[in-house]
Symmetry: C2
Subunit: 276 residues, 2 copies
Protein backbone atom coordinates (compact mmCIF):
# COMPACT_ATOMS: atom_id res chain seq x y z
CA UNK A 1 0.00 0.00 0.00
CA UNK A 2 1.26 3.41 -0.89
CA UNK A 3 0.41 6.79 0.58
CA UNK A 4 -0.61 9.77 -1.52
CA UNK A 5 1.82 12.62 -0.96
CA UNK A 6 0.59 16.20 -0.94
CA UNK A 7 2.06 16.96 -4.34
CA UNK A 8 0.61 13.79 -5.85
CA UNK A 9 -2.83 14.55 -4.44
CA UNK A 10 -2.67 18.04 -5.92
CA UNK A 11 -1.75 16.54 -9.28
CA UNK A 12 -4.66 14.08 -9.19
CA UNK A 13 -7.08 16.81 -8.20
CA UNK A 14 -5.95 18.83 -11.20
CA UNK A 15 -7.14 16.05 -13.51
CA UNK A 16 -10.71 17.25 -13.11
CA UNK A 17 -10.04 20.04 -15.59
CA UNK A 18 -9.09 19.69 -19.24
CA UNK A 19 -6.13 21.98 -18.63
CA UNK A 20 -4.85 19.82 -15.77
CA UNK A 21 -5.25 16.65 -17.82
CA UNK A 22 -3.34 18.15 -20.73
CA UNK A 23 -0.61 19.43 -18.44
CA UNK A 24 0.00 16.11 -16.73
CA UNK A 25 -0.96 13.90 -19.71
CA UNK A 26 -3.08 11.82 -17.35
CA UNK A 27 -6.79 11.18 -16.95
CA UNK A 28 -9.06 9.38 -14.49
CA UNK A 29 -11.17 6.31 -15.26
CA UNK A 30 -13.73 5.76 -12.50
CA UNK A 31 -15.74 2.78 -11.38
CA UNK A 32 -15.28 -0.97 -11.21
CA UNK A 33 -16.17 -1.88 -14.80
CA UNK A 34 -14.00 0.82 -16.29
CA UNK A 35 -10.97 0.07 -14.13
CA UNK A 36 -11.29 -3.61 -14.95
CA UNK A 37 -11.57 -2.77 -18.66
CA UNK A 38 -8.41 -0.62 -18.46
CA UNK A 39 -6.48 -3.46 -16.84
CA UNK A 40 -7.79 -6.08 -19.24
CA UNK A 41 -6.95 -3.92 -22.24
CA UNK A 42 -3.46 -3.28 -20.83
CA UNK A 43 -3.99 0.48 -20.92
CA UNK A 44 -1.19 2.60 -19.43
CA UNK A 45 -2.55 2.62 -15.87
CA UNK A 46 -0.10 4.43 -13.60
CA UNK A 47 -1.95 3.99 -10.34
CA UNK A 48 -5.17 2.63 -8.88
CA UNK A 49 -6.89 4.48 -6.06
CA UNK A 50 -9.47 2.86 -3.79
CA UNK A 51 -11.43 3.69 -0.67
CA UNK A 52 -10.90 1.32 2.29
CA UNK A 53 -14.46 0.06 1.87
CA UNK A 54 -13.96 -0.80 -1.80
CA UNK A 55 -10.57 -2.39 -1.09
CA UNK A 56 -12.24 -4.85 1.28
CA UNK A 57 -15.01 -5.82 -1.14
CA UNK A 58 -14.63 -8.83 -3.41
CA UNK A 59 -14.53 -6.47 -6.41
CA UNK A 60 -11.71 -4.58 -4.69
CA UNK A 61 -9.75 -7.76 -4.13
CA UNK A 62 -10.27 -8.85 -7.73
CA UNK A 63 -8.97 -5.53 -9.09
CA UNK A 64 -6.02 -5.47 -6.67
CA UNK A 65 -4.98 -8.88 -7.90
CA UNK A 66 -5.35 -7.90 -11.54
CA UNK A 67 -3.33 -4.73 -10.98
CA UNK A 68 -0.57 -6.14 -8.86
CA UNK A 69 -0.27 -9.64 -10.28
CA UNK A 70 2.01 -9.39 -13.27
CA UNK A 71 1.53 -5.71 -13.94
CA UNK A 72 2.87 -4.28 -10.70
CA UNK A 73 0.65 -1.23 -10.84
CA UNK A 74 0.79 0.83 -7.62
CA UNK A 75 -2.36 0.67 -5.54
CA UNK A 76 -3.26 3.43 -3.11
CA UNK A 77 -5.96 3.31 -0.44
CA UNK A 78 -7.27 6.76 0.43
CA UNK A 79 -9.97 7.97 2.78
CA UNK A 80 -13.47 8.39 1.34
CA UNK A 81 -13.05 12.17 1.65
CA UNK A 82 -9.83 12.20 -0.36
CA UNK A 83 -11.33 9.88 -2.95
CA UNK A 84 -14.19 12.28 -3.52
CA UNK A 85 -11.58 14.94 -4.21
CA UNK A 86 -10.18 12.90 -7.07
CA UNK A 87 -13.34 11.36 -8.51
CA UNK A 88 -15.54 13.60 -10.62
CA UNK A 89 -18.72 11.58 -10.39
CA UNK A 90 -20.83 11.34 -7.29
CA UNK A 91 -21.24 7.60 -7.50
CA UNK A 92 -17.73 6.47 -8.32
CA UNK A 93 -17.99 3.23 -6.36
CA UNK A 94 -14.73 3.98 -4.58
CA UNK A 95 -12.28 2.96 -7.27
CA UNK A 96 -10.48 4.88 -9.99
CA UNK A 97 -7.53 4.29 -12.32
CA UNK A 98 -5.09 7.03 -13.25
CA UNK A 99 -4.26 6.45 -16.90
CA UNK A 100 -1.50 7.91 -19.04
CA UNK A 101 -2.80 9.74 -22.12
CA UNK A 102 -4.11 9.14 -24.57
CA UNK A 103 -5.40 5.89 -23.07
CA UNK A 104 -6.31 4.42 -26.42
CA UNK A 105 -4.12 2.34 -28.75
CA UNK A 106 -2.54 3.94 -31.79
CA UNK A 107 -4.68 1.70 -33.94
CA UNK A 108 -7.67 -0.54 -33.26
CA UNK A 109 -6.80 -4.19 -32.64
CA UNK A 110 -8.93 -5.15 -35.65
CA UNK A 111 -9.22 -3.75 -39.17
CA UNK A 112 -12.70 -3.04 -40.40
CA UNK A 113 -12.32 -0.03 -42.69
CA UNK A 114 -14.84 2.08 -40.81
CA UNK A 115 -14.16 5.44 -39.16
CA UNK A 116 -16.73 7.41 -37.16
CA UNK A 117 -16.27 11.19 -37.46
CA UNK A 118 -18.16 13.42 -35.05
CA UNK A 119 -18.99 17.06 -35.71
CA UNK A 120 -19.50 19.24 -32.63
CA UNK A 121 -20.80 16.54 -30.31
CA UNK A 122 -20.70 18.46 -27.06
CA UNK A 123 -22.45 16.11 -24.67
CA UNK A 124 -19.89 13.87 -22.89
CA UNK A 125 -22.45 11.10 -22.39
CA UNK A 126 -23.19 11.02 -26.12
CA UNK A 127 -19.50 10.97 -27.08
CA UNK A 128 -18.76 8.20 -24.59
CA UNK A 129 -21.73 6.09 -25.63
CA UNK A 130 -20.79 6.42 -29.30
CA UNK A 131 -17.29 5.29 -28.37
CA UNK A 132 -18.69 2.25 -26.58
CA UNK A 133 -20.78 1.35 -29.64
CA UNK A 134 -17.84 2.01 -31.98
CA UNK A 135 -15.79 -0.51 -29.98
CA UNK A 136 -18.64 -3.03 -29.90
CA UNK A 137 -19.15 -2.93 -33.66
CA UNK A 138 -15.42 -2.79 -34.35
CA UNK A 139 -15.03 0.65 -35.92
CA UNK A 140 -11.35 1.43 -36.52
CA UNK A 141 -11.25 4.90 -34.98
CA UNK A 142 -13.10 8.03 -33.97
CA UNK A 143 -12.33 11.44 -35.42
CA UNK A 144 -13.47 14.55 -33.55
CA UNK A 145 -14.02 17.99 -35.06
CA UNK A 146 -13.25 21.19 -33.19
CA UNK A 147 -16.13 21.89 -30.84
CA UNK A 148 -16.50 18.29 -29.66
CA UNK A 149 -16.25 17.66 -25.93
CA UNK A 150 -12.80 16.74 -24.57
CA UNK A 151 -12.48 12.97 -25.03
CA UNK A 152 -10.86 12.68 -21.58
CA UNK A 153 -13.79 14.36 -19.85
CA UNK A 154 -14.64 12.03 -16.92
CA UNK A 155 -18.26 11.58 -18.00
CA UNK A 156 -17.20 10.76 -21.53
CA UNK A 157 -14.56 8.30 -20.32
CA UNK A 158 -17.07 6.65 -18.03
CA UNK A 159 -19.73 6.32 -20.72
CA UNK A 160 -17.26 4.52 -23.02
CA UNK A 161 -17.34 1.61 -20.51
CA UNK A 162 -13.92 0.62 -21.71
CA UNK A 163 -14.35 1.40 -25.42
CA UNK A 164 -11.76 4.16 -24.91
CA UNK A 165 -9.13 1.46 -24.40
CA UNK A 166 -9.80 -0.17 -27.77
CA UNK A 167 -10.71 2.50 -30.32
CA UNK A 168 -8.24 5.32 -31.08
CA UNK A 169 -9.63 8.84 -31.12
CA UNK A 170 -8.13 11.61 -33.20
CA UNK A 171 -9.07 15.27 -32.83
CA UNK A 172 -8.67 17.12 -36.14
CA UNK A 173 -8.20 20.80 -36.85
CA UNK A 174 -10.52 21.03 -39.83
CA UNK A 175 -13.00 18.20 -40.31
CA UNK A 176 -13.95 19.18 -43.87
CA UNK A 177 -10.30 19.08 -44.96
CA UNK A 178 -9.74 15.82 -43.17
CA UNK A 179 -12.78 14.26 -44.87
CA UNK A 180 -11.66 15.55 -48.28
CA UNK A 181 -8.30 13.85 -47.78
CA UNK A 182 -10.02 10.62 -46.69
CA UNK A 183 -12.23 10.76 -49.76
CA UNK A 184 -9.22 11.31 -52.01
CA UNK A 185 -7.66 8.26 -50.37
CA UNK A 186 -10.61 6.12 -51.44
CA UNK A 187 -12.92 6.26 -48.40
CA UNK A 188 -16.65 6.65 -48.98
CA UNK A 189 -17.93 9.61 -46.94
CA UNK A 190 -21.41 8.95 -45.50
CA UNK A 191 -23.35 11.11 -43.07
CA UNK A 192 -26.24 10.52 -40.69
CA UNK A 193 -28.91 13.07 -41.55
CA UNK A 194 -32.53 13.14 -40.43
CA UNK A 195 -33.52 14.19 -43.95
CA UNK A 196 -31.02 11.92 -45.65
CA UNK A 197 -31.47 10.52 -49.13
CA UNK A 198 -30.92 6.83 -48.47
CA UNK A 199 -32.17 4.53 -45.75
CA UNK A 200 -29.77 1.69 -46.48
CA UNK A 201 -26.05 1.48 -45.92
CA UNK A 202 -24.51 1.31 -49.41
CA UNK A 203 -23.48 -2.34 -49.81
CA UNK A 204 -20.29 -1.39 -51.65
CA UNK A 205 -19.06 1.05 -48.96
CA UNK A 206 -16.23 -1.02 -47.49
CA UNK A 207 -13.73 1.66 -46.59
CA UNK A 208 -15.96 4.38 -45.23
CA UNK A 209 -16.29 7.31 -42.84
CA UNK A 210 -19.61 7.80 -41.05
CA UNK A 211 -20.09 11.47 -40.12
CA UNK A 212 -22.60 12.52 -37.46
CA UNK A 213 -23.33 15.90 -35.94
CA UNK A 214 -24.30 17.17 -32.51
CA UNK A 215 -27.85 17.50 -31.35
CA UNK A 216 -28.63 21.11 -31.98
CA UNK A 217 -26.38 21.98 -34.86
CA UNK A 218 -26.73 20.72 -38.43
CA UNK A 219 -23.58 19.64 -40.27
CA UNK A 220 -21.63 22.59 -41.59
CA UNK A 221 -22.04 23.19 -45.37
CA UNK A 222 -18.26 22.77 -45.77
CA UNK A 223 -18.61 19.28 -44.25
CA UNK A 224 -21.74 18.42 -46.24
CA UNK A 225 -19.95 19.30 -49.48
CA UNK A 226 -17.50 16.43 -48.90
CA UNK A 227 -20.26 13.95 -48.01
CA UNK A 228 -21.27 11.57 -50.79
CA UNK A 229 -24.40 10.00 -49.35
CA UNK A 230 -26.63 11.04 -46.46
CA UNK A 231 -28.29 8.22 -44.54
CA UNK A 232 -31.56 8.54 -42.72
CA UNK A 233 -33.30 6.34 -40.20
CA UNK A 234 -36.97 6.49 -41.14
CA UNK A 235 -39.43 7.84 -38.57
CA UNK A 236 -42.49 5.63 -38.07
CA UNK A 237 -44.03 7.51 -35.18
CA UNK A 238 -43.25 10.98 -33.87
CA UNK A 239 -40.26 13.20 -33.17
CA UNK A 240 -37.87 15.69 -34.69
CA UNK A 241 -34.82 13.44 -34.57
CA UNK A 242 -33.11 10.58 -32.80
CA UNK A 243 -30.40 11.13 -30.21
CA UNK A 244 -27.04 11.23 -32.02
CA UNK A 245 -25.66 8.25 -30.09
CA UNK A 246 -28.75 6.19 -31.05
CA UNK A 247 -28.45 7.22 -34.70
CA UNK A 248 -24.75 6.30 -34.87
CA UNK A 249 -25.30 2.97 -33.08
CA UNK A 250 -28.18 2.04 -35.39
CA UNK A 251 -26.11 2.88 -38.46
CA UNK A 252 -23.16 0.87 -37.13
CA UNK A 253 -25.51 -2.10 -36.74
CA UNK A 254 -26.78 -1.57 -40.30
CA UNK A 255 -23.21 -1.27 -41.56
CA UNK A 256 -22.33 -4.63 -40.00
CA UNK A 257 -25.40 -6.33 -41.41
CA UNK A 258 -24.69 -4.90 -44.85
CA UNK A 259 -21.14 -6.24 -44.80
CA UNK A 260 -22.06 -9.84 -44.06
CA UNK A 261 -19.39 -11.98 -42.46
CA UNK A 262 -16.15 -10.28 -43.37
CA UNK A 263 -15.24 -10.23 -39.71
CA UNK A 264 -16.52 -12.81 -37.32
CA UNK A 265 -18.38 -11.44 -34.27
CA UNK A 266 -16.15 -11.75 -31.23
CA UNK A 267 -18.93 -11.95 -28.67
CA UNK A 268 -18.99 -10.23 -25.30
CA UNK A 269 -15.73 -10.16 -23.36
CA UNK A 270 -13.86 -11.81 -26.17
CA UNK A 271 -12.87 -8.77 -28.17
CA UNK A 272 -9.49 -8.53 -26.56
CA UNK A 273 -7.54 -7.27 -29.47
CA UNK A 274 -7.19 -10.33 -31.67
CA UNK A 275 -7.66 -9.29 -35.27
CA UNK A 276 -9.64 -11.90 -37.17
CA UNK B 1 -48.66 38.19 -18.10
CA UNK B 2 -49.37 36.56 -14.78
CA UNK B 3 -47.52 36.75 -11.51
CA UNK B 4 -46.51 33.69 -9.52
CA UNK B 5 -48.09 33.81 -6.07
CA UNK B 6 -46.19 32.51 -3.08
CA UNK B 7 -48.33 29.37 -2.82
CA UNK B 8 -48.00 28.65 -6.53
CA UNK B 9 -44.22 29.08 -6.39
CA UNK B 10 -44.06 26.66 -3.48
CA UNK B 11 -46.11 24.16 -5.47
CA UNK B 12 -43.85 24.44 -8.48
CA UNK B 13 -40.73 24.05 -6.36
CA UNK B 14 -42.20 20.85 -4.92
CA UNK B 15 -42.26 19.31 -8.41
CA UNK B 16 -38.53 18.63 -8.15
CA UNK B 17 -39.27 15.60 -6.01
CA UNK B 18 -41.20 12.48 -6.98
CA UNK B 19 -43.35 12.95 -3.90
CA UNK B 20 -44.24 16.52 -4.87
CA UNK B 21 -45.04 15.51 -8.42
CA UNK B 22 -47.32 12.70 -7.25
CA UNK B 23 -49.02 14.97 -4.75
CA UNK B 24 -49.82 17.71 -7.24
CA UNK B 25 -50.14 15.43 -10.30
CA UNK B 26 -47.94 17.85 -12.22
CA UNK B 27 -44.44 17.70 -13.72
CA UNK B 28 -42.02 20.09 -15.38
CA UNK B 29 -40.85 19.89 -19.01
CA UNK B 30 -37.83 22.12 -19.51
CA UNK B 31 -36.23 23.69 -22.54
CA UNK B 32 -37.37 25.06 -25.88
CA UNK B 33 -37.66 21.83 -27.84
CA UNK B 34 -39.56 20.05 -25.12
CA UNK B 35 -42.00 22.89 -24.48
CA UNK B 36 -42.64 23.19 -28.19
CA UNK B 37 -43.19 19.42 -28.40
CA UNK B 38 -45.68 19.57 -25.51
CA UNK B 39 -47.66 22.34 -27.23
CA UNK B 40 -47.59 20.64 -30.62
CA UNK B 41 -48.73 17.34 -29.14
CA UNK B 42 -51.52 19.14 -27.25
CA UNK B 43 -50.30 17.82 -23.92
CA UNK B 44 -52.11 19.10 -20.82
CA UNK B 45 -49.88 22.13 -20.27
CA UNK B 46 -51.25 24.19 -17.39
CA UNK B 47 -48.71 26.99 -17.48
CA UNK B 48 -45.57 28.13 -19.24
CA UNK B 49 -42.82 29.86 -17.25
CA UNK B 50 -40.11 31.96 -18.89
CA UNK B 51 -37.27 34.22 -17.86
CA UNK B 52 -37.47 37.80 -19.19
CA UNK B 53 -34.46 37.11 -21.44
CA UNK B 54 -36.07 34.05 -23.01
CA UNK B 55 -39.41 35.86 -23.40
CA UNK B 56 -37.71 38.50 -25.55
CA UNK B 57 -35.95 36.00 -27.81
CA UNK B 58 -37.50 34.87 -31.07
CA UNK B 59 -37.92 31.38 -29.59
CA UNK B 60 -39.75 32.97 -26.66
CA UNK B 61 -42.09 34.85 -28.94
CA UNK B 62 -42.76 31.71 -30.99
CA UNK B 63 -43.68 29.69 -27.90
CA UNK B 64 -45.80 32.51 -26.44
CA UNK B 65 -47.80 32.61 -29.64
CA UNK B 66 -48.21 28.84 -29.75
CA UNK B 67 -49.33 28.78 -26.11
CA UNK B 68 -51.66 31.72 -26.15
CA UNK B 69 -53.03 31.52 -29.70
CA UNK B 70 -55.93 29.12 -29.58
CA UNK B 71 -54.90 27.28 -26.46
CA UNK B 72 -55.02 30.14 -23.97
CA UNK B 73 -52.34 28.63 -21.76
CA UNK B 74 -51.21 31.04 -19.00
CA UNK B 75 -47.72 32.40 -19.47
CA UNK B 76 -45.68 33.65 -16.53
CA UNK B 77 -42.46 35.64 -16.70
CA UNK B 78 -40.28 35.13 -13.63
CA UNK B 79 -36.89 36.41 -12.64
CA UNK B 80 -33.89 34.25 -13.54
CA UNK B 81 -33.44 33.45 -9.85
CA UNK B 82 -37.02 32.22 -9.45
CA UNK B 83 -36.75 30.22 -12.66
CA UNK B 84 -33.72 28.39 -11.33
CA UNK B 85 -35.84 27.45 -8.33
CA UNK B 86 -38.31 25.68 -10.57
CA UNK B 87 -36.02 24.18 -13.21
CA UNK B 88 -34.06 21.11 -12.22
CA UNK B 89 -31.39 21.29 -14.91
CA UNK B 90 -28.63 23.84 -14.92
CA UNK B 91 -29.04 24.70 -18.58
CA UNK B 92 -32.77 25.00 -18.87
CA UNK B 93 -32.68 27.77 -21.47
CA UNK B 94 -35.14 29.85 -19.47
CA UNK B 95 -38.37 28.13 -20.44
CA UNK B 96 -40.41 25.36 -18.84
CA UNK B 97 -43.92 23.97 -19.17
CA UNK B 98 -45.91 22.74 -16.19
CA UNK B 99 -47.79 19.68 -17.42
CA UNK B 100 -50.68 17.79 -15.85
CA UNK B 101 -49.88 14.12 -15.27
CA UNK B 102 -49.41 11.73 -16.79
CA UNK B 103 -48.42 13.88 -19.79
CA UNK B 104 -48.78 11.03 -22.24
CA UNK B 105 -51.86 9.95 -24.17
CA UNK B 106 -53.86 6.95 -23.00
CA UNK B 107 -52.83 5.19 -26.19
CA UNK B 108 -50.29 5.93 -28.90
CA UNK B 109 -51.69 7.77 -31.92
CA UNK B 110 -50.67 4.83 -34.11
CA UNK B 111 -51.06 1.08 -33.79
CA UNK B 112 -47.96 -0.98 -34.38
CA UNK B 113 -48.34 -3.96 -32.06
CA UNK B 114 -45.03 -3.34 -30.30
CA UNK B 115 -44.56 -2.71 -26.57
CA UNK B 116 -41.21 -1.95 -24.93
CA UNK B 117 -40.98 -3.31 -21.37
CA UNK B 118 -38.10 -2.12 -19.18
CA UNK B 119 -36.76 -4.01 -16.20
CA UNK B 120 -35.01 -1.92 -13.54
CA UNK B 121 -33.72 0.81 -15.82
CA UNK B 122 -32.56 3.28 -13.21
CA UNK B 123 -30.75 5.89 -15.26
CA UNK B 124 -33.14 8.71 -16.21
CA UNK B 125 -31.14 9.54 -19.36
CA UNK B 126 -31.45 5.95 -20.55
CA UNK B 127 -35.19 5.80 -19.85
CA UNK B 128 -35.78 9.12 -21.62
CA UNK B 129 -33.70 8.20 -24.63
CA UNK B 130 -35.48 4.86 -24.98
CA UNK B 131 -38.77 6.76 -24.86
CA UNK B 132 -37.58 9.09 -27.61
CA UNK B 133 -36.60 6.11 -29.78
CA UNK B 134 -39.87 4.30 -28.96
CA UNK B 135 -41.77 7.34 -30.26
CA UNK B 136 -39.56 7.63 -33.35
CA UNK B 137 -40.06 4.00 -34.33
CA UNK B 138 -43.73 4.03 -33.38
CA UNK B 139 -43.84 1.62 -30.45
CA UNK B 140 -47.31 1.53 -28.88
CA UNK B 141 -46.28 1.91 -25.27
CA UNK B 142 -43.66 1.54 -22.59
CA UNK B 143 -44.09 -0.70 -19.57
CA UNK B 144 -41.89 -0.14 -16.51
CA UNK B 145 -41.09 -2.70 -13.84
CA UNK B 146 -40.68 -1.80 -10.18
CA UNK B 147 -37.20 -0.37 -9.72
CA UNK B 148 -37.25 1.73 -12.88
CA UNK B 149 -36.61 5.46 -12.47
CA UNK B 150 -39.69 7.69 -12.04
CA UNK B 151 -40.88 8.47 -15.60
CA UNK B 152 -41.55 12.09 -14.57
CA UNK B 153 -37.99 12.61 -13.36
CA UNK B 154 -36.89 15.90 -15.01
CA UNK B 155 -33.84 14.32 -16.68
CA UNK B 156 -35.94 11.48 -18.04
CA UNK B 157 -38.60 13.89 -19.30
CA UNK B 158 -35.94 16.04 -20.94
CA UNK B 159 -34.22 13.12 -22.65
CA UNK B 160 -37.53 12.00 -24.23
CA UNK B 161 -37.35 15.20 -26.33
CA UNK B 162 -41.12 15.07 -26.65
CA UNK B 163 -41.54 11.31 -26.97
CA UNK B 164 -43.29 11.44 -23.58
CA UNK B 165 -46.18 13.26 -25.25
CA UNK B 166 -46.77 10.48 -27.78
CA UNK B 167 -46.05 7.13 -26.18
CA UNK B 168 -48.01 6.02 -23.08
CA UNK B 169 -46.00 4.64 -20.19
CA UNK B 170 -47.41 2.15 -17.73
CA UNK B 171 -45.70 1.18 -14.47
CA UNK B 172 -46.60 -2.39 -13.49
CA UNK B 173 -46.49 -4.07 -10.11
CA UNK B 174 -45.05 -7.38 -11.25
CA UNK B 175 -43.42 -7.46 -14.67
CA UNK B 176 -43.26 -11.26 -14.90
CA UNK B 177 -47.01 -11.51 -14.28
CA UNK B 178 -47.73 -8.75 -16.73
CA UNK B 179 -45.63 -10.46 -19.41
CA UNK B 180 -47.33 -13.79 -18.76
CA UNK B 181 -50.70 -12.14 -19.34
CA UNK B 182 -49.44 -10.48 -22.53
CA UNK B 183 -48.14 -13.83 -23.75
CA UNK B 184 -51.46 -15.48 -22.99
CA UNK B 185 -53.13 -12.71 -25.01
CA UNK B 186 -51.05 -13.64 -28.05
CA UNK B 187 -48.04 -11.33 -27.78
CA UNK B 188 -44.59 -12.74 -28.55
CA UNK B 189 -42.25 -11.98 -25.65
CA UNK B 190 -38.72 -11.12 -26.83
CA UNK B 191 -35.81 -9.91 -24.73
CA UNK B 192 -32.58 -8.09 -25.47
CA UNK B 193 -29.77 -10.19 -24.03
CA UNK B 194 -26.06 -9.91 -24.63
CA UNK B 195 -25.86 -13.71 -24.81
CA UNK B 196 -29.11 -14.08 -26.70
CA UNK B 197 -29.90 -16.99 -28.96
CA UNK B 198 -30.96 -15.13 -32.11
CA UNK B 199 -29.52 -12.15 -33.90
CA UNK B 200 -32.54 -11.49 -36.08
CA UNK B 201 -35.95 -10.15 -35.14
CA UNK B 202 -38.37 -13.05 -35.75
CA UNK B 203 -40.17 -12.09 -38.96
CA UNK B 204 -43.49 -13.46 -37.69
CA UNK B 205 -43.44 -11.45 -34.42
CA UNK B 206 -46.13 -8.89 -35.22
CA UNK B 207 -47.71 -8.39 -31.81
CA UNK B 208 -44.70 -8.39 -29.55
CA UNK B 209 -43.16 -7.14 -26.33
CA UNK B 210 -39.45 -6.26 -26.31
CA UNK B 211 -38.02 -6.63 -22.79
CA UNK B 212 -34.74 -4.97 -21.83
CA UNK B 213 -32.97 -4.73 -18.51
CA UNK B 214 -30.89 -2.11 -16.73
CA UNK B 215 -27.15 -1.85 -17.07
CA UNK B 216 -25.89 -3.70 -14.09
CA UNK B 217 -28.58 -6.21 -13.40
CA UNK B 218 -29.47 -9.23 -15.54
CA UNK B 219 -33.15 -9.97 -16.17
CA UNK B 220 -34.73 -11.72 -13.22
CA UNK B 221 -35.25 -15.49 -13.71
CA UNK B 222 -39.00 -14.97 -13.19
CA UNK B 223 -38.96 -12.57 -16.15
CA UNK B 224 -36.72 -14.78 -18.30
CA UNK B 225 -39.09 -17.71 -17.81
CA UNK B 226 -41.82 -15.81 -19.67
CA UNK B 227 -39.49 -14.76 -22.49
CA UNK B 228 -39.75 -16.84 -25.67
CA UNK B 229 -36.72 -15.63 -27.62
CA UNK B 230 -33.64 -13.70 -26.52
CA UNK B 231 -32.14 -11.37 -29.12
CA UNK B 232 -28.49 -10.44 -29.25
CA UNK B 233 -26.63 -7.76 -31.14
CA UNK B 234 -23.39 -9.42 -32.22
CA UNK B 235 -20.12 -7.92 -30.97
CA UNK B 236 -17.53 -7.39 -33.72
CA UNK B 237 -14.93 -5.60 -31.65
CA UNK B 238 -14.65 -5.28 -27.89
CA UNK B 239 -16.82 -4.71 -24.86
CA UNK B 240 -19.01 -6.41 -22.29
CA UNK B 241 -22.29 -5.00 -23.53
CA UNK B 242 -23.98 -2.13 -25.30
CA UNK B 243 -25.72 0.67 -23.42
CA UNK B 244 -29.37 -0.39 -22.86
CA UNK B 245 -30.74 2.59 -24.79
CA UNK B 246 -28.50 1.71 -27.76
CA UNK B 247 -29.55 -1.93 -27.64
CA UNK B 248 -33.26 -1.07 -27.56
CA UNK B 249 -32.91 1.50 -30.35
CA UNK B 250 -31.02 -0.94 -32.56
CA UNK B 251 -33.63 -3.65 -31.98
CA UNK B 252 -36.44 -1.19 -32.72
CA UNK B 253 -34.73 -0.39 -36.03
CA UNK B 254 -34.37 -4.11 -36.77
CA UNK B 255 -38.02 -4.68 -35.85
CA UNK B 256 -39.10 -2.02 -38.34
CA UNK B 257 -36.91 -3.42 -41.09
CA UNK B 258 -38.22 -6.93 -40.44
CA UNK B 259 -41.82 -5.78 -40.73
CA UNK B 260 -41.49 -4.17 -44.14
CA UNK B 261 -43.98 -1.48 -45.02
CA UNK B 262 -46.93 -2.21 -42.82
CA UNK B 263 -46.80 1.35 -41.58
CA UNK B 264 -45.48 4.13 -43.74
CA UNK B 265 -42.64 6.16 -42.20
CA UNK B 266 -44.01 9.52 -41.13
CA UNK B 267 -40.75 11.44 -41.44
CA UNK B 268 -39.48 14.01 -38.96
CA UNK B 269 -42.02 16.42 -37.52
CA UNK B 270 -44.87 14.69 -39.25
CA UNK B 271 -45.77 12.10 -36.68
CA UNK B 272 -48.52 14.17 -35.18
CA UNK B 273 -50.89 11.46 -34.23
CA UNK B 274 -52.34 10.34 -37.52
CA UNK B 275 -52.64 6.57 -37.50
CA UNK B 276 -51.74 5.19 -40.91
Amino acid sequence: MQQLGKAELKRLRALKTEHGREQHRLFVAEGYRLVRAALEASAAVTRIVMTPEFAHSSAGKELSQLAQGDKGIPLTIVEERVFRDIAATTHAQGVAAIVRMPGWPSRAPWQSGLTVALYRVRDPGNLGTIWRSAAWFGADRLVLSKGCVDPHNPKAVRATMGGIFYVPCEPVEDLANWLAAARAAGYRILAADVRGESDRWPADAKEAVLVAGGETEPLDPSVLRVVETTLRIPCWGAGDSLNVAMAVSILLDEWRRSQGDQLRPTGPSQGRGEPE
